[in-house]
């Protein structure tokens, strides 16, 4: 093809804005969003505290003390007091974050991969594939999510592993539906048809045109599910279906401290406060990322 040719219209030259990649522009928008940045830092602090728990915790979280039971805040260097067995609350909260975060994040990750894949296949595939996948997922919707989580982990027996499996099964249908909806919306747009018209195969179209448009909503939904996961995991532990005592876990701590609420209400509420702060931070962070990731703003 000739490289030089006379064009019927003049080159259009608006002022050139600074060019950024997609993630560059997302990062730039996040910089000007102090709320998201703040809660992002909180989430980061919680995660770091969980990772470096043995270094950060002032006391051994499993060391019991007969005389130091249910002491108030600040008692003998126990900043947040002690629990019903005299164990340091702060140390237990820091260690408990490990289990709680793990049970919040791992099931969401599993559900994202499994549910997301099923959803994209269901959304892009034909009517029969779609019906087979989506109606199966609908079966899970027949039960409230808490009931389903309790039923599954109850049937498989307690423990952190079974709890995570139960939560994964609870999250997968919702994730599948989000991915399916996003895929079905994108699938019918002209640019997918244009890609087919260039002779691209299904897998190529999925990879270059569908995934990029589906990952956004899926990722955002996943980040909002993390806080639900932490709450549900705590709920399972509270009911005795999650981790077993004496493991430090926020839900379990809430459950055992509950009996002492008339003795020292402030200390008993602390694990709940930890759950609250964590889930609120995850939620607000995911909200901020959601708006920063909208490329059309």
């Amino acid at each position: 093809m000739p490289n030089t040719m006379i064009l019927p219209t003049a080159m259009i030259e608006p002022a050139a804005p600074k060019q950024r990649g997609y993630w560059g522009s997302v990062g730039n928008r996040l910089r000007y969003d102090p709320v998201t940045v703040f809660f992002g830092l909180v989430v980061l602090a919680i995660i770091l505290a969980a990772i470096f728990a043995p270094l950060l915790a002032p006391f051994d979280p499993y060391k019991e003390s007969i005389i130091g039971r249910l002491k108030p805040l600040g008692w003998k260097g126990h900043w947040l007091g002690t629990d019903e067995l005299g164990r340091d609350i702060l140390s237990r909260l820091i260690h408990g974050g490990r289990v709680s975060l793990l049970m919040g994040v791992v099931p969401v990750a599993i559900a994202t991969v499994v549910g997301g894949t099923l959803g994209v296949v269901g959304g892009f595939g034909g009517r029969k594939v779609n019906t087979a996948i989506m109606r199966t997922m609908d079966v899970f919707y027949a039960f409230p999510s808490v009931l389903l989580a309790v039923a599954i982990s109850g049937a498989m027996g307690g423990g952190a592993m079974n709890g995570m499996i139960a939560l994964s099964m609870v999250f997968t249908p919702a994730m599948c539906r989000v991915a399916e909806t996003a895929t079905a919306q994108v699938k019918n747009l002209d640019f997918v048809e244009a890609a087919r018209a260039t002779g691209a195969g299904t897998l190529t179209i999925l990879r270059y045109h569908i995934l990029g448009n589906v990952l956004g909503p899926v990722f955002i939904y996943a980040s909002s599910l993390v806080s639900v996961g932490i709450l549900l995991a705590s709920g399972l532990s509270f009911l005795g279906l999650g981790v077993k005592p004496p493991t430090a876990d926020w839900g379990l701590m809430l459950s055992t401290l509950r009996q002492s609420i008339y003795v020292n209400p402030v200390v008993c509420a602390l694990p709940g406060v930890a759950i609250l702060i964590t889930s609120v931070s995850f939620n607000l962070l995911s909200d901020g990322i959601r708006s920063a990731m909208d490329v059309r703003m």
Binding site: L7, E193, A194, R196, A197
Partner: protein, 343 residues
């Protein structure tokens, strides 16, 4: 250019022959067996180097026809021959080979670009699919951007939402040209643009056609635009071709009453010659149950008994200058009182 080597049939061989294309869509929730006859036996030739305009009201099957030509929708019946090779035939070419040589530009310039892809990647996608490396495809994208009048460094890295409608449609044209097709189907490609931008894009299309020996199938409901850009015009009504001929003949001496009505419906530029009454009234009949005989008879002022009984045939075309219409008044033997007399 490699297109010269694959110009197999020579100049006389039509680039694309459509024979009796048919697509019926099942009606959802309708009576069993009810179908929308979106495209009902359409035949035509597209000659090399020409622009064939396709006009008709909304819902007459123009866009379905465009998609059938690229096999984006599978035709129920009919045959496509591209430069002498039957598409999908054992001895012909595959649908993929057809898509290598025929590209399409869609009406909605926004939804036909991936919102999460910089436009240069959208353009490079076609060459990449056809086996070029990413670097080669990127170079092709730059070249093509220059050809549609956009600076590659300025516009290439942008996302579709950062461009105006006219710029987006240029990108879509660039995307179609990136794999060096021989034919481009423009499905209402300029209809959504402002008048001034529309004119720019039309001129660009003309220039590109000359520079790259392209053949256009130009679908539009805008008669002025079709007149400006087309060499020949095909008029569709309710899924069928009613008239086909060179653009001057169609516009100066239309043969079919529907074409006459369409032309009369154009707004006049002269306020003194304002159209007081619409030349054609009512909506087209339902394509689920088209009228018997001639499909246009329910809205035609010349309709007679014969029009309800037999379906008029389009007649055979011979060459680029054939002007044919599917109307009983064109057939001396039809028995219509206004039928042209043989002298």
């Amino acid at each position: 250019m490699d297109t010269v080597e694959i110009d197999r049939g020579g100049p006389a061989q039509p680039l694309l022959i459509a024979k009796d294309l048919r697509k019926h869509f099942k009606v959802k929730g309708g009576a069993p067996g009810a179908v929308v006859r979106a495209v009902d036996g359409v035949s035509f030739n597209v000659f090399k180097g020409e622009t064939l305009g396709v006009v008709g009201e909304s819902g007459c099957g123009k866009s379905t026809l465009a998609r059938l030509l690229l096999h984006l929708i599978e035709p129920d019946a009919g045959e496509l021959v591209f430069d002498g090779d039957a598409v999908g035939d054992m001895r012909g070419i595959t649908v993929n080979a057809l898509r290598r040589q025929v590209q399409m530009v869609f009406q909605d310039s926004s939804s036909s670009l991936n919102p999460r892809m910089p436009v240069r990647d959208s353009i490079a996608f076609g060459p990449y699919v056809h086996g070029k490396t990413k670097a080669e495809a990127g170079r092709i994208a730059r070249d093509v951007l220059v050809k549609v009048g956009l600076k590659p460094d300025l516009f290439g890295p942008r996302y579709p939402h950062e461009l105006s409608g006219g710029q987006k449609q240029r990108i879509n044209i660039a995307r179609a040209l990136a794999i060096e097709p021989r034919m481009v189907i423009l499905d209402e490609a300029v209809s959504a643009l402002d008048k001034s931008v529309e004119a720019q894009v039309l001129n660009l299309l003309r220039a590109l056609k000359e520079n790259f020996n392209l053949t256009y199938l130009f679908i539009s409901h805008d008669l002025s635009v079709v007149r400006y850009i087309s060499d020949r015009v095909l008029v569709m009504y309710l899924g069928a071709v009613v008239e086909l001929g060179p653009v001057q003949d169609i516009f100066s001496r239309p043969k079919h009453p529907y074409t006459t009505a369409l032309l009369a419906s154009r707004p006049s530029m002269d306020p003194a010659r304002r159209i007081e009454e619409p030349p054609i009234t009512g909506d087209p009949p339902s394509p689920i149950n088209p009228p018997s005989g001639c499909r246009f008879r329910t809205r035609c002022q010349h309709a007679e008994a014969v029009c309800a009984q037999t379906q008029p045939i389009l007649g055979a075309w011979n060459d680029r200058d054939s002007h044919i219409a599917a109307c009983h008044m064109q057939d001396p033997e039809s028995g219509h009182s206004l039928a042209i007399r043989t002298h």
